[in-house]
């Protein structure tokens, strides 16, 4: 237990543990100190200086985010000196900033804009520096637009990219008035190690880093009567969409989301959860097959441990960082891409629609999915498997544009076919979910019994943010055909956030870890903390999304992927068997080794 200390903020005694900053102490006392570069997920930068306060005995003001509280310290957050300094600072930021708010994607959801209105800026205290600057806009990439004219150089993105993701695609370049956030050799994002994870987008306080939005093309497709527009929605969207539409975090809005999508005019509202279940079947069999080839056939060409492949940010990361470990990646496409490939084949056949008239749209908690959909290998249906990827945020925009009162919408159900799902699919949205879903199925395939955990909740593999979770599941009393797995202790690892993924894979590369199965999600907390989710994000919000996901799982009538009736149907009518010829053609893929530079 840390020692406590008491300081006085604006005359109020506040008692906090040692090592608490003034900003944190003030928040505890419900005293609002504005801030910009500070973010709960990141290390303290102390560079915007918006959060300055007066401290007795100090000649200068101090940045409250960076200054630890001390016993007896007297802090004043609202003196004339503080107010003028803050106003100056915000005015300075605005003078360097392309403040053409009505033309900005973040209009209305911009931290700088909020501060500007709070400070009553508008007096044009200083000169407009923007016309003298040569700002670049990088829109050459499928997922993320980087607009330097909106950048306030708070370096949240730099810290995100380095600390949370260990990617370091973004860094500070130059100094003084020319200082900017840039990439290696100032190359566009698509030419550097950027994984398109979008964590920087989630944390950018302004419109400097935003997703490339596809709202208008999707509307056009909907309006086009010759097109059959199919939409799929990822598991993590339904527990976060509400946040962008006025509901508190942690609210499950599956039914309302479906209702909204139908009202927007999509011809078929389907569920990525369906292919999440399919992923489990394919990936589960792939794991078992790899284990058999290693343990029984003594095949040394088979790579173990096997790692999951649902997270496109993770895929791009491993392609750059550990290209020699690509054979360890499951060859399964992500659920989004399986869905896309099946939409223009299986679905088209069943519904009697010409695939060339199908527009396949996905709603994802993710920006990297936009890049994934554009990969040249994602055209196994003969067409672009997924035409447009929308983030959770873009869907919220469409709902607002359509004038729907989201909160009063009724709950509706997904269409069929490819609309049914299970609890196992829902938990794909959180770290540890794919692992848990795979175990629920694989264990049962091998033993004929349910996993030996109460209510199927395999809590040992449920990941936690900021840590790598390792668990061992002992396989006992197998069916005769899986005899070689009798007594095997299946070593599972779950990691979320690329910084943690890097550590796990380094161990694999060094040969210091003897895992069997690794689940990796690029984003903190898994897809629920994805780069396409509503802004803001912080540990508390993500924790609420996480409980909502497990709540949704518990509420599902079916909670094991292999029991999804539509999954059984697709194997019977179309795919044949897991890992079969058709599966390989449509549901599996290969990867591209890439360089760091």
């Amino acid at each position: 237990m840390a020692n406590k200390l008491t300081l006085q903020i604006d005359g109020i005694d506040v008692t906090v543990p040692e090592d608490t900053t003034i900003l944190a102490a003030a928040r505890k006392a419900n005293i609002h100190i504005p801030s910009l570069c500070y973010h709960e997920d990141l290390c303290v930068a102390g560079n915007c200086r918006v959060c300055v306060v007066e401290v007795s005995g100090s000649k200068t003001l101090v940045a409250s985010c960076a200054m630890p509280a001390s016993e007896g310290m007297q802090v004043f957050t609202n003196t004339g000196k503080v107010r003028l300094a803050r106003k100056h600072i915000v005015e300075l930021l605005l003078s360097e900033h392309n403040a053409d708010c009505t033309k900005c994607y973040k209009n209305g959801n911009c931290e700088l804009q909020f501060l500007a209105s709070e400070m009553l800026t508008g007096d044009h205290l200083f000169l407009d520096l923007v016309p003298g600057k040569k700002y670049t806009i990088d829109r050459f990439n499928s997922a993320i637009i980087k607009d330097d004219s909106r950048c306030i150089r708070c370096q949240r993105c730099v810290r995100t990219c380095e600390e949370l993701q260990s990617v370091s695609a973004l860094d500070v370049a130059y100094k003084g008035d020319k200082m900017k956030i840039s990439t290696f050799f100032e190359n566009p994002l698509f030419e550097v190690v950027c994984t398109n994870c979008g964590q920087c987008v989630n944390r950018c306080p302004t419109g400097a880093l935003i997703e490339k939005n596809y709202v208008d093309p999707v509307w056009e497709a909907i309006y086009d009567k010759t097109k059959h527009v199919v939409v799929q929605t990822a598991p993590a969207v339904r527990i976060a969409l509400g946040e962008a539409l006025g509901l508190p975090p942690g609210k499950i809005v599956t039914g309302k989301m479906v209702a909204a999508l139908k009202r927007l005019g999509f011809d078929s509202v389907l569920d990525t959860d369906f292919t999440a279940d399919l992923t489990i079947i394919e990936e589960g069999h792939e794991l078992l097959s790899r284990l058999k080839r290693v343990l029984v056939d003594k095949d040394t060409t088979v790579a173990l441990p096997m790692t999951t492949s649902c997270s496109p940010g993770w895929i791009k990361f491993i392609e750059h960082t550990f290209p020699e470990l690509l054979p360890n990646l499951s060859s399964c496409k992500s659920p989004q891409q399986m869905f896309g490939a099946l939409t223009k084949t299986y679905y088209a056949q069943k519904r009697g629609v010409d695939p060339k008239n199908i527009i396949s749209v996905s709603v994802m908690p993710c920006t990297a999915k936009k890049f994934e959909a554009d990969r040249p290998e994602m055209r196994s249906s003969g067409y672009k498997d997924v035409d447009y990827v929308l983030t959770t945020r873009e869907l919220a925009i469409m709902i607002k544009q359509a004038g729907l009162d989201f909160q009063s919408l009724p709950n509706e159900s997904f269409d069929s076919i490819m609309g049914s799902s299970t609890g196992a699919a829902v938990i794909f949205g959180t770290t540890g979910g794919v692992m848990e879903a795979a175990l629920r199925t694989a264990y049962e395939i091998v033993t004929g019994r349910e996993v030996p955990f109460e209510k199927l909740n395999i809590t040992p593999v449920r990941g936690t943010e900021g840590e790598v979770r390792e668990a061992t599941i002992k396989i006992e009393k197998t069916k005769p055909e899986w005899k070689f797995l009798e007594g095997v202790e299946l070593k599972c690892v779950v990691a979320n956030g690329l910084a943690h993924a890097k550590r796990v894979m380094q161990n694999v590369k060094d040969g210091t870890a003897n895992y069997h199965f690794i689940e990796i999600m690029a984003c903190p907390g898994g897809c629920l903390g994805g780069g396409g989710q509503p802004i803001p994000t912080n540990p508390e919000i993500r924790a609420k999304r996480k409980s909502a996901i497990y709540e949704e799982d518990m509420g599902m009538p079916i909670r094991k992927s292999h029991e999804n009736p539509e999954v059984a149907e697709i194997y019977k009518d179309f795919l044949g068997e897991p890992l079969g010829h058709k599966s390989h053609e449509l549901l599996h893929t290969h990867y591209t080794p890439r360089k760091r530079y």
């Binding site: 303290v44 930068a45 102390g46 560079n47 915007c48 200086r49 918006v50 300055v52 000649k59 200068t60 003001l61 940045a63 960076a66 200054m67 630890p68 000196k81 003028l84 300094a85 100056h88 600072i89 300075l92 930021l93 003078s95 360097e96 205290l125 200083f126 000169l127 520096l129 003298g132 306030i152 150089r153 370096q155 860094d171 500070v172 130059y174 100094k175 003084g176 008035d177 020319k178 200082m179």
Partner: protein
Amino acid sequence: MAELVQRVDLIFGEYSDEKYKVLEESLKRSNEDIIKDILDSGLRGRGGAGFPTAIKWKYTAEQPVKEKYVVCNADEGEPGTFKDREILSRVPRKVFSGMAICAKVIGAKKGFMYLRGEYRFMLPDLLKELDEFHAYAKKLKLDFTIEIRMGSGAYICGEESALFESMEGKRGEPRNKPPYPTVAGYLSKPTVINNVETFVNVVMICRIGPVQYRKLGTHDSRGSKVFSVSGDTPKPGIYELELGMPLIRFVEEFGDGDTKAVQVGGASGFCVPMKKFKDTIIGFEGVPTGGSMMIFNSSRSMYNVLHNYLDFFEEESCGQCTPCRVGCQQLKKGIQAVKRGDKPVVYLDQLMKLSETMKITAKCGLGQSVANSFSSIVNNFKEEMIY
């Protein structure tokens, strides 16, 4: 030279007949004794900020950490300052001795000299001298080595925490303080970082004793100081003078008879106009300086002088914090706009307020000190800003 100012010969003077004699003797003394001598001498840091050296050493010595460092800040980048170059080329032995004494006192085994990028030409000589130092250290059974690290030309890397970042291979940006270097400096270990001249002063205090040393200077500014004199003077150069002299004496000695202002302490220092020469003391009780003394005569436009400083700051700000990065640009563009007539004269008041904000909100000394030259030039030479 006339007897207007007290010349001193402490820094550059011969200090012993035998090489590393002072170091050898100091090594035999207790750490407490040495710290007490430095404390009694009243020595304050010679880089410009003037933090009491003994306190810095004492805090670092007290840290219950095994790994500690001594760093010599030789990133002499303040415009108009060139005294460290002279010290390092004439008496490098004194600098190394000072660092070694510090290492003994705080318990460090490793020292670094962060040498300004533009001083690379001095490196061969310094390395030769350093080899000799290491040989003596071995002879004296002192477990302490010094390594020279080159800067790359950024002014900001003279700021101590940015200097550490640079030494660690990172971008040279100032850190948040606290923690201070005495607790977490290089590699986040307790570190004493002092200016070149400060280390030399320590050696001289050890040599002549605090009583003798205190005879130089004034109550708040003990000892002597090496000045870099430049500008409109018939005798530019390096001069070691007693601290605490009135500026008027300095101008009488070094001016060309037409001096209208002296910039004390470089671009980040203060501009003193003629009418204040009499009442201005050069020292911590008056206008402190890291050594730079720039003399301007009536032929100089103070607008151009200020513009030049702002050009410098605009480029040399690390760009990290808002007040410094944007403030410098605004001040420069602001005086241009007033000069052109695009902004009214009262806009200068707005800029003065902005410089005040920079002074109290910038993250490090660079941004905080831009206001020094800005306000002192604008206040004293307002008409030159306008016409």
